[in-house]
């Protein structure tokens, strides 16, 4: 009975150890995943920056004029600009 108790104590210690290791492993996995997501967030943010600037370039008055010219459209002057 005493040997059984000793083995039980040992088993419980091993179990506790394994649980701790598993928890540490999961924690490391989660931290690694967080790191990966963080890196992904930065990459996506940088991609967004690039898109924003591309959009800004396309929205610029001169870019619109050049685009219209390239497509063969005439940029009609505002009515107020006609000769009197």
């Amino acid at each position: 009975m005493t040997t059984f108790r000793a083995l039980l104590v040992l088993f419980m210690m091993v179990t506790v150890g394994v649980v701790i290791v598993v928890i540490r492993q999961e924690s490391a996995k989660a931290a690694n995943r967080i790191q990966g997501l963080h890196h992904q967030k930065i990459t996506l943010e940088q991609s967004l920056w690039t898109r924003e600037l591309e959009l800004a370039r396309l929205r610029g008055p001169e870019a619109i004029r050049h685009r219209a010219d390239a497509l063969g459209f005439e940029v009609v002057p505002p009515a107020a600009n006609r000769d009197p």
């Binding site: 040997t3 108790r5 000793a6 490391a28 963080h38 920056w49 610029g60 004029r65 600009n81 009197p84």
Partner: protein, 586 residues
């Protein structure tokens, strides 16, 4: 027998537990030993091996126009760095890199050799994604690729002298980029990464992440559509008259908001090193010049306000040459007699000289200062010049006739446009401004700089109405600025053709002029004031303000008023029947 077995079992159990306990004690002892004697050193070593602190750079804020269009922004770019200390053969590494990038080794080798023992040295900024990938695959020891924020100007040269630029390391060094640097730059963050044995980022350390605070966005009053039109007009005018340069301002007369502020020729802030530093200057606020006839309305209004002249009063304009003491004043076109109104419409120097004598130096000086000349306008831009108005004690009898025709005085384009706003807003002196608001990265307004309505009354409203409706409209309908007329809006303004003073004094340069025109529209309820000055147009092609600058102002006002959807107003019969012949008055 049972007792013997039981004793034996107890002994075995005690022995097992004892052995385990001893083993644990030994382990604990070892742990205590390591922690006590080697702990700090080992912990520090482990930190060094496993942890790395990575600075997180904030994104520099945008500079946007009044409609949210980005004028200056930040995007990522790939750059190549080296750790020269660990590179075994720098020359070989540079040669290999030049092969990968397909560039001349001479562009890299000297820099890398000169880098010495630096641990981080940027070899080449702004490589493409493909080049970055090729560098990674080449696996050159001691070389790597990193991503860095990069300031870019999607509108290229548009409003460049106002916006300025940043240095390669992202610090504002010119224009608004410099002035607003504390708002734009944001705050650095940092993260602590735990790395594995292969130095790969494994996880973030507990509490090891402090995000960067991105820079605030600066919102301007500038409207890029108006700005683009202004710059096109300046470029066309400078080329047509083979001039040296031109400047222009468009502003709202009621609020002082600047819609466009342009200098031609300008520069591209994306490649600012390719241009002369002279082009970086915002000459609309830094360079005073003698305004010439564009200054006459201010003195004429002062004379009306002081009651020294009456509407319709006739002046003898001496057939184009008037001997005033030792000095002879001349008109570009001789006139016998001109009414007060005609003096401005025909832009007679002699008539203005006589009006100046009626006012006298003291009142002249008072009104010149009251219109804001000789002191900074208070615009929210750095490096503004106060212009040149000498102290009253230094004025002499020449000043009495020179000042009314815009000589002996230096004004900046900004001062002139701002002073002209008084004719468009009921006589109030506005404070011009360019920065409308500052917003954080989420779009919340941090500072709103919209000014309160102007209170400083320079002229009585009835004088302003007379000047605007009876005189300045006639300058456009009948006078020297007929080329500024618009079909749907009544424009009022004044032309100027000023000679350029010699450097160091001693008279004027021959055949060197600044042709200018300042105007506002629509006369019924003025929405915009526009000023254009063209420096050194080729005389043979034209140099009068009415010929050189007025058409540019017409183009700007016509486009901007329609774009801003200002309700058209019918032209007067007088305006409709006015001639459209070539203009040769100043």
């Amino acid at each position: 027998m049972d007792a013997l077995r039981s004793r034996s079992s107890n002994f075995a159990a005690h022995a097992l537990i004892g052995t385990v306990m001893v083993a644990l004690l030994v382990l604990v002892g070892r742990l205590v030993y390591i922690n006590t004697y080697h702990g700090p050193r080992l912990i520090a070593k482990a930190h060094r091996q496993q942890r790395s602190h990575v600075p997180l750079q904030p994104r520099r804020g945008f500079i946007v126009d009044g409609r949210g269009r980005i004028i200056a922004g930040t995007m990522p770019r790939k750059s190549v760095f080296a750790d020269p200390k660990v590179i075994p053969n720098k020359e070989a590494a540079a040669l290999k890199l030049s092969e990968v990038l397909q560039i001349d080794p001479g562009e890299i080798v000297p820099d890398l050799l000169a880098a010495g023992e630096h641990r981080f040295f940027v070899i080449r900024r702004g490589v493409s994604e493909e080049e970055a990938e090729r560098i990674k695959q080449a696996g050159i020891y001691g070389l790597g690729v990193f991503t860095e924020p990069y300031r870019t100007y999607p509108m290229n040269s548009l409003a460049a002298s106002l916006i300025g630029f940043v240095s390669p390391d992202g610090v504002g060094v010119s224009g608004l980029e410099h002035q607003c640097d504390s708002w734009l730059r944001g705050e650095n963050g940092a993260k602590t990464i735990i790395r594995d044995a292969g130095r790969k980022a494994f996880w973030l350390a507990d509490g090891g992440y402090r995000p960067a605070r991105d820079g605030f966005h600066v919102v301007l009053t500038i409207d890029l559509e108006v700005q683009a039109k202004v710059e096109r007009e300046l470029e066309a005018t400078v080329q047509k008259y083979q001039a040296e340069s031109a400047v222009a301002i468009v502003m709202h007369p009621m609020t002082g908001a600047i819609l466009a502020m342009a200098n031609y020729p300008g520069y591209d802030p994306n490649n600012y090193r390719d241009f002369s530093t002279v082009r970086y200057r915002n000459r609309t606020i830094t360079d005073p010049y003698e305004p010439g006839s564009t200054f006459k309305p201010f003195i004429a209004a002062a004379a009306l306000a002081e009651g020294v002249v009456r509407l319709g009063e006739v002046f003898d304009c001496e057939r184009g040459a008037w001997q005033d003491g030792p000095r002879t004043l001349r008109d570009h076109h001789p006139h016998d007699y001109l009414s007060f109104e005609e003096i401005l419409i025909k832009s007679s120097n002699i008539g203005m000289g006589k009006i100046g004598k009626r006012l006298g130096n003291e009142r002249l000086h008072h009104y010149v200062k009251a219109f804001g000349f000789g002191e900074k306008t208070g615009i929210d831009l750095q490096a503004e010049d106060p212009g040149i108005v000498r102290r009253l004690s230094r004025w002499n009898t020449y000043s009495t006739t020179s000042i009314p025709m815009g000589q002996e005085i230096g004004v900046t384009p900004m001062q002139l446009a701002r002073a002209f706003c008084t004719f468009a807003n009921g006589g109030k002196l506005v404070k011009p401004y360019v920065i409308r608001a500052v917003m954080d990265a989420e779009g919340r307004v941090i500072n709103d700089f919209t000014p309160s309505p102007p209170e400083q009354q320079v002229l009585p409203e009835e004088i302003v109405a007379v000047m605007k409706d009876k005189i300045l409209c006639a300058v456009v309908n009948q006078g020297g600025a007929r080329s500024a007329r618009l079909a749907n809006y009544q424009v009022f303004g004044k032309t100027g053709t000023a000679q350029i003073a010699k450097k160091g004094g001693g008279g004027y340069e021959p055949n060197a002029y600044v042709s200018s025109f300042v105007a506002a529209a629509p006369a019924g309820d003025p929405e915009l004031v526009a000023f254009v000055a063209v420096r050194r147009p080729k005389k043979a092609l034209g140099y009068y303000g009415g010929k050189v600058a007025a058409p540019a102002v017409r183009g700007i006002l016509g486009h901007a008023l329609a774009y801003l959807q200002v309700t058209p107003e019918p032209m007067s019969q007088e305006a409709l029947t006015a001639l459209s012949e070539d203009v040769d008055a100043d």
